[in-house]
């Protein structure tokens, strides 16, 4: 029983991390109908920012994630201006292709600049700390990420539903021209959404180096899982991505432990196929 609970706990915590990565992707996807293939690379860039801040200036990830998020926010806005904005309204595949090229570019620039070495911040404040709870072990770094994830997602949800800008984003997602006619500067909205999407993954990437090593390929699998979570939850649905990500985390942990670790991603992708068979637009898609 204790093991079962531990496995569930691990899955839950990982799911929250996936949620934080997913929500940004989902936002971009839902509002702009753009598949950002370079999402994983944004994560990796954020991890590098945190790493270098920690390595060169001794800033703990607990603080430097803010810088990472800000950095990726700016990077995203620049990417939007240079790469995405010319492709808005063009065939949807072209944005996918462009971001694929971008992901290749970012990955190899990092390889070129930072070498392929694995980089790990060896002593972070929370690194390796755990809270023992009877038979259960609660790893602190993951817990912090999960809490941050919940806070961020709640904030975004409230922002999207309560604030004027959030409204404007929703309106833009539904009908860009009509939104423009309401006096909403939709190209600014797009840039903002792309930036927020980047910032979310930036936060995740900023916190990850507490226990994950950084290297140019670090984002690859995360982005793949994020894609599945987005589609599983339904594009653009914030609640959907949260629940889908948690579900993915749980399935991954349970199958990994009770079946075999090697099958955990098979199960995750299989889960997506099964869900999509029943609900072709994901759990919360419209």
């Amino acid at each position: 029983m204790a093991i079962f609970l531990q496995v569930v706990l691990d899955g839950l915590l990982n799911g929250m991390l996936y949620a934080l990565i997913t929500v940004g992707l989902s936002l971009i996807w839902g509002v702009m109908d753009v598949i950002n293939f370079a999402h994983g690379e944004f994560l990796m860039v954020a991890m590098y920012v945190t790493y270098w801040l920690g390595f060169l200036m001794n800033v703990d990830p607990l603080i430097s994630w803010i810088a990472s998020a800000a950095f990726v926010f700016i990077l995203s806005v620049i990417v939007y201006k240079l790469v995405i904005s010319p492709l808005i309204g063009k065939p949807p595949l072209s944005a996918l292709l462009a971001t694929f090229g971008l992901s290749m570019l970012i990955k190899n620039i990092c390889l070129n600049r930072f070498s392929p070495n694995f980089k790990l911040l060896s002593d972070t404040y929370l690194g390796g700390r755990v809270i023992p709870m009877g038979d259960l072990i609660l790893p602190l770094p993951q817990l912090v990420i999960a809490i941050v994830s919940l806070i961020v997602i709640t904030c975004i949800y409230r922002f999207m539903t309560r604030s004027r800008t959030g409204w404007a984003i929703q309106a833009t997602a539904m009908d860009r021209d009509a939104a423009e006619l309401m006096g909403i500067d939709t190209s600014k909205i797009y840039a903002l959404v792309f930036g927020i999407g980047g910032a979310c993954v930036g936060i995740a990437g900023g916190l990850l180096p507490m226990y994950m090593p950084v290297h140019p390929e670090a984002g690859s699998l995360f982005s793949l899982i994020a894609f599945v979570c987005v589609a599983l939850g339904g594009f653009g649905s914030i609640v959907g991505s949260l629940l889908a990500a948690i579900l993915v985390g749980l399935v991954e942990a349970l199958v990994g432990f009770y079946v075999a670790p090697i099958f955990k991603y098979v199960a995750v992708f299989g889960l997506y196929l099964i869900v999509i068979l029943i609900r072709p637009k994901g759990l919360f898609g419209w």
């Binding site: 093991i3 531990q6 496995v7 691990d10 899955g11 990982n14 991390l17 996936y18 190899n108 390889l111 070498s115 392929p116 070495n117 694995f118 980089k119 790990l120 911040l121 060896s122 002593d123 690194g127 390796g128 755990v130 023992p132 072990i137 790893p139 993951q142 226990y211 994950m212 090593p213 290297h215 140019p216 390929e217 670090a218 690859s220 699998l221 995360f222 899982i225 991954e252 942990a253 199958v255 990994g256 432990f257 075999a260 670790p261 090697i262 955990k264 991603y265």
Partner: protein
């Protein structure tokens, strides 16, 4: 109308493309050079290892081409080989992909006209790439690929320096036997955690064979996907089966994650022995800090072995200048340097660039190799270096202490590993 234009332009592009080939194959001027190709994963998931291997070969070539009378390595005291021939390296990148490896090997031979190839780290790439050489009757020197199968293919032109995962597995098991005899431990249950790739799977297979042959119990077989986002269920599984001894075949980032996860779940085997790079990478050891301590693994070379191999230090200096950040040799990269040196010695000995004679010479002689543990290299049919040796070391305080076999040992192994809460 537009369809016709499509055709015209399509054909123009095709023709332009073909014309492009005309200017491509510009050959180097014939000087007194011997071209050797290197084929490593310079980009992609294992780029780190590939770049180190490349630098190691470069260091070896530096030693061969220039006169370093102070370095006690064959060919160091003279300039070049064959009376002034210099070795020129042509580097190629296979990205960790077998198909790319094969075509790059072909390109090196056919286009660049290299005399031999040194490569290519990933066993999965070495296999098809070395077949290219075999079919062209050219030499393929392999430093670090560890799959035992490579040297069981009945090839003639393929030579491998490093010990195989087969010999390493047997050594691991012998070490445990030795522990049980001398330290009074009673380790019986074994587990293997490995990345599910060519490398990991091979290692696991050999491990299983060795463990079962020795009459031990093989209780946990944990494969995972490389580049994992977490290893929680993997470690949970190990924890559940609780083997006394765990063999690990995890590369770089996964190795770090594995140890971090074990720490979080506060579990450790009594002994952990590791194949290949994660454990051996001195940078990783440094980054893991105290968490990496007490793990063991095979080591073909590490700075702590320098006292056994005095010739390494000056070569290592050259190597460090070629890699950023400067790190010491590790067990993989140094084997590539050895491969280069042995090949050069064979060429020098034969006195000409006759591949057949060089191959015969490679099989027939025992080569001095101050960069190898044991100091000698000799090849059995199939190309395996039968003098390949490695020690089992234990990492304590950032230092690789030699614990087995006894003739190399400089420290007593600390077993069982102190649990996480006993460490500071």
């Amino acid at each position: 109308m537009s369809k016709r234009w499509g055709r015209v332009i399509a054909s123009i592009i095709v023709i332009a493309l073909l014309a492009g080939f005309a200017v491509s194959g510009v050959a180097c001027a014939e000087e007194k050079v011997i071209k050797i190709g290197t084929l490593f994963p310079l980009t992609g998931p294992v780029a780190l290892a590939g770049q180190r291997c490349k630098a190691a070969v470069e260091a070896a070539v530096e030693v061969i081409n220039n006169s370093y009378p102070d370095i006690p390595v064959p060919l160091a005291d003279q300039e070049g080989i064959l009376d002034g021939y210099k070795i020129v390296l042509i580097h190629a990148d296979h990205q960790g992909k077998p198909d790319v490896g094969k075509s790059e090997a072909e390109r090196l031979f056919d286009q660049e006209g290299v005399f031999a190839i040194i490569g290519s780290y990933n066993s999965a790439v070495t296999k098809p790439a070395s077949m290219v050489a075999e079919r062209r009757k050219r030499i393929f020197m392999c430093g670090a690929s560890s799959s035992a199968e490579l040297t069981k293919r009945g090839t003639r032109y393929f030579f491998r320096i490093a010990p195989t995962d087969e010999t390493e597995s047997i050594e691991f098991v012998n070490f445990i036997k030795w522990l049980n005899e001398t330290e009074g431990t009673n380790y019986k249950t074994f587990g293997v955690i490995y990345e599910n790739t060519e490398f990991g799977k091979h290692a696991a297979q050999e491990a299983k064979k060795a463990i079962e042959e020795a009459g031990f119990e093989y209780v946990a077989d944990v494969a995972f996907n490389p580049g994992a986002t977490n290893l929680n269920s993997e470690v949970q599984m190990l924890k559940g089966k609780n083997p006394d001894v765990v063999f690990g075949a995890c590369l770089g980032a996964d190795y770090i994650l594995w140890i971090k996860t074990m720490k979080q779940l506060s579990w450790l085997p009594k002994v952990s022995l590791n194949y290949c790079s994660g454990y051996q990478d001195p940078l990783i050891a440094q980054q893991l800090g105290g968490d990496g301590d007490y793990f063991m693994g095979t080591t073909g070379y590490s700075p702590e072995l320098a006292e056994l191999m005095p010739a390494v230090a000056p070569v290592e200096e050259i190597y460090k200048s070629k890699i950023d950040p400067p790190v010491p040799f590790d067990s993989d990269s140094i084997q590539e340097a050895v491969a280069m040196l042995v090949l050069a010695q064979a060429i020098e000995k034969v006195g000409s660039l006759d591949t057949e004679k060089i191959v015969d010479a490679l099989y027939a002689n025992e080569w001095d190799s101050p960069l190898s543990l044991g100091g000698k290299v000799a090849f059995a049919p199939g190309g395996q270096n039968i003098k390949a040796m490695s020690t089992i070391t234990q990492l304590i305080g950032g230092e690789y202490r030699r614990v087995f076999p006894e003739e190399f040992a400089n420290a007593e192994p600390v077993v069982p590993m102190p649990s996480w809460d006993q460490r500071k």
